[in-house]
Symmetry: C2
Subunit: 191 residues, 2 copies
DNA sequence: CGGATCGTTGATCAACTTCAACGGTCGTGG
DNA sequence: CCACGACCGTTGAAGTTGATCAACGATCCG
């Protein structure tokens, strides 16, 4: 088992080898190929994914039949449909690998057991959710504050390295604009 | 001290009177008048607010100088600028009472102490953040999925009672459209 | 009663989408 | 190893959604 998750937990709280070994039985590692689906709309959402390497995206199919990406998860991010996961319901989202990705899978029952048995896991996920929530708070602010063009420039400025890793149509999908318009915005740089 | 917060904690975990009494010294209740500010842009964000009665809103001033509401908090919701709170930084947001409101205040130092001393509080806030995060995930989905007109109808359909409580220009601000356009959408109902 | 605030209406305007077409590149099968 | 098709990014024209601006009426509150 890779040390990436252990290192991540360690960023929030002290964790010795013994403690880490104790939680390992609840986790499963998996490799996912590019474009492979981990979760599909309509399924019961049973799992929570931690990205050790690579990139996942979460998207839904909008009313026009177009894939709309709501979130990316790169190294050290957890991802699932949190509503469907908590309630063990059918999900509205799809989760797919953007590139070859290595993940840790935690299923719902296991996560509940971890919370009951290890208070440090309760603490760890309190941090994880707190941070994730804070991040979406900023995402919502940007969605209101910026025009589509500003969204693009802000993304390039703050996530430039990541922008290189993904195809342009996925960036367009995440920013909420059409590939054509994104292309037009990019063209302006040279005029 | 009102029982609203106790009841809320009890929704997630068992809590006896003794335990509740133990955390009370860390909390402060306060009444807030309509339009009174609890937090102002530029200040260090030291506090976390729980609404027992009434309604708060969080907003920022956008590039055009217009107030943009990103979130409402009604009964049983916690609210703060989570990024600024976690890092004890200056906030980018304002928090203001929409109507006469009764809140519980938890300051950052107290919250940290509660986490250290009472594992049930760690658990409680793990739930609170998990739910809040799940809610913003849906909000982001709606922001992408719906046109402004659909945003309005969806809000009326799912939050109709709350919509009655707030003035129309605040609803417009929350939905991300102009009061003029909201007025136009409403007018369509009768044509 | 008088002023400020809120909701409405209509005209004009800007941001962004849609649609159609084209060229380049990449990967796959022959 | 080449050829073909699929996919991706780009361009431009036309169309839509929603913003802006100005003006007016209603209501609320002092």
């Amino acid at each position: 088992m890779s040390q990436v998750l252990k290192a991540h937990i360690n960023k929030f709280l002290p964790l010795n080898d013994e403690e880490y070994s104790a939680i390992l039985p609840y986790l499963k590692v998996q490799k996912v190929k590019k474009k492979q689906n981990l979760m599909t709309e309509g399924e019961i959402c049973k799992q929570h994914y931690f990205v050790e390497k690579g990139c996942l995206r979460k998207f839904f199919i909008n009313e026009k039949g177009v894939e709309q990406t709501t979130e990316f998860a790169i190294e050290n991010w957890w991802m699932t449909d949190h509503i469907a996961y908590e309630r063990q319901h059918a999900t509205l989202f799809n989760i797919q690998a953007v590139e070859h990705t290595e993940i840790v899978i935690l299923d719902y029952q296991s996560q509940e057991k971890l919370f009951e048995q290890f208070s440090f896991m309760e603490r760890y996920f309190r941090f994880v959710y707190q941070r994730a929530f804070a991040a979406t708070q900023m995402r919502i602010k940007f969605l209101f504050d910026y025009s589509k063009e500003e969204m693009y420039h802000h993304f390039i400025k703050t996530q430039g390295a990541f922008a290189q890793r993904i195809p342009q149509y996925l960036l367009a999908s995440y920013l909420g604009l059409t590939p054509e318009y994104l292309s037009e915005i990019r063209a302006k740089r040279f005029s």
